[in-house]
Subunit: 274 residues, 3 copies
Amino acid sequence: MFKEIYENVQHTTPLVHSITNYVTVNDCANIVLAAGGSPIMADGIEEVAEINSICDALVINIGTLNERVIESMIKAGKKANEIGNPVILDPVAVGASQFRNEVTFKLLKEIQFSVIRGNASEIKTIYEGSGTTSGVDANEEDKVEEKSLDNMITLCKNLSKETGAIIVLTGAIDIVASEKNANIIYNGHSLMSKVTGTGCMLTNVIGTYCGANKNNILDSTSIAVAHMGLAGEVAFKKLQKADGGTSSYRMFLIDEISKMNYKKLKEGANIENR
Amino acid sequence: MFKEIYENVQHTTPLVHSITNYVTVNDCANIVLAAGGSPIMADGIEEVAEINSICDALVINIGTLNERVIESMIKAGKKANEIGNPVILDPVAVGASQFRNEVTFKLLKEIQFSVIRGNASEIKTIYEGSGTTSGVDANEEDKVEEKSLDNMITLCKNLSKETGAIIVLTGAIDIVASEKNANIIYNGHSLMSKVTGTGCMLTNVIGTYCGANKNNILDSTSIAVAHMGLAGEVAFKKLQKADGGTSSYRMFLIDEISKMNYKKLKEGANIENR
Amino acid sequence: MFKEIYENVQHTTPLVHSITNYVTVNDCANIVLAAGGSPIMADGIEEVAEINSICDALVINIGTLNERVIESMIKAGKKANEIGNPVILDPVAVGASQFRNEVTFKLLKEIQFSVIRGNASEIKTIYEGSGTTSGVDANEEDKVEEKSLDNMITLCKNLSKETGAIIVLTGAIDIVASEKNANIIYNGHSLMSKVTGTGCMLTNVIGTYCGANKNNILDSTSIAVAHMGLAGEVAFKKLQKADGGTSSYRMFLIDEISKMNYKKLKEGANIENR
């Protein structure tokens, strides 16, 4: 199944529609291409439904919100729901403002998401209906480590039950949870947090995988998370040889997404089912 | 003339005004600098005409359309027409939505373009007045190969006659056509399609060349296309040595645009007149 | 004090709120991370005040202005003033349009800035209340060289007195001036002008330093300017070895920001007090 999921992406070139922030949008488009998909970024209310109708997945990212784009998100999301395409939510910095909270809960009410991906602060904010997020990175006390892992898995499973979406909580350890199952992914490297948008990029890789595997969202998402994390590990090894900094790391990361193949991914993916 | 066109860019540092999408805008600005120009991105309705009046060329790209920016495009385009500056259109993904079609035909009606650059699906959509574009990349059946080349050249010449603009159709082989002449450019590398915005970037390189050579749009555009394609070829050789992926390729591509000189370009340009 | 300023950045991870243009926003976010801060880009009028209230500094950049975002700038600026956070202005291409002039003077009236950073044309435009800026780069006749340095220092000191802000005039030589003091920074490399947004990026590095050193804006800003300039010098050496172009240079520049440490910065900073 792992192989089938991977090859579906490579053989079908899923078209991923992103309504996203203008900070990391270029990296998001490039990582969709690198992962084997084809990106289209369109947020005009006049066209989002029509654009979405030719796509295989929709990614909604609230990084730089404004009124205009919220309507477009809802319109595109409803269309994707209607035609049965997966919709992935990246609730960037939810908890950091009332506005982000309101928009996030509005989106959750209007759209049925297939996947919600966030860091611990963001996922907790959604779970608790309010939050204490301070910025776009997870709060120190929210970071997922071995000791807090069980609690976080339970939280993710509960939130999956509530929302009907697969929950992805990313951090030092990544959790991908349905109501009843959780995959724990141990790939990745801490330097990824020093590149802006690695979370947004991952969400788009998830969109790419889910767009090509609409009937297997839990496993597709888990493999997407492993693909990203493994690329981050290999990129770090390249970085050390190159004596580079965070910008080289960003490049190596996208490079390794594009240089992945089934054998490398299967061998390197560190996924544990709980 | 080749030499004069190249050197006009290097010696006059043309100021290129772009109203463009937020996905690839940074690469577009950097490639204008790399090619020898100076970029300015401004799309506020309050200032586009004034900004344009100090520039040498205008590039209009419809990648991420919204109502606000359409008015700015028209206002800037009319100003550029008034002062005799070249205006270059990049009709990204026209055919993918009614909205993009309407906006494109409105722009074509309101503004006299000097150059229109698109992939085969986009150019055919404009030629036929409607289309079947599925996304931002050319449809499989639209790709330009040797066998379909003659038909495509005829289409481009006809569209040039209709619009009064030089038509640039880019793909595995690139066509630059006026009503009566066509230059076929055999430079480039297929990996360019795995980097988002190489089309947008080329359109800005064309803007840079045309801004410095307002009276010779056909040849300036052809040399710009060769400059981009040759950079893509050299970048691919560097990529193989570096064992990199698509993000390294993006960097090498812009690098080679900036490292071009007359001798390399003259020797490497593979332009055939038909 | 140099050491304290540097270490305050590294130890407190200042949260920098940027309302900025969509051209260089990604590089700005990445350079804040590279310099030791944490970036948040948010410009929705509904949330800018609240977002700002959890941050340590605010950077306002007028690169791609529109009506919507001006209100957000003012609202965020007033909030930052209220809570005593430093506000840094980057008046990109002021002088190139009446609109930019009006907005800049409106911002200067409504918000108390801690720092204003621009090239010679931009700073002169603000000083003179009107200008002749042609584009985003400094006019040839405005460039700061040794012979014009004394005049420029005087201009900066006068403008600092008028505005109450530290004035940063960047060019071949950089000036950081309060009403009574000026630090002249001789770091940097001319190739930085061939990468879009190095000015914007510097403004964000300044925001990062000031956010961690709210009571020492003059020296923090000077060290930030040296950090950026020194990174540009080291990056140029790497570029020569790598035989790269302008895009490699952009990467090496951000790399070197992230690879800086106190010892390298202290030894390499070339700051002269006048």
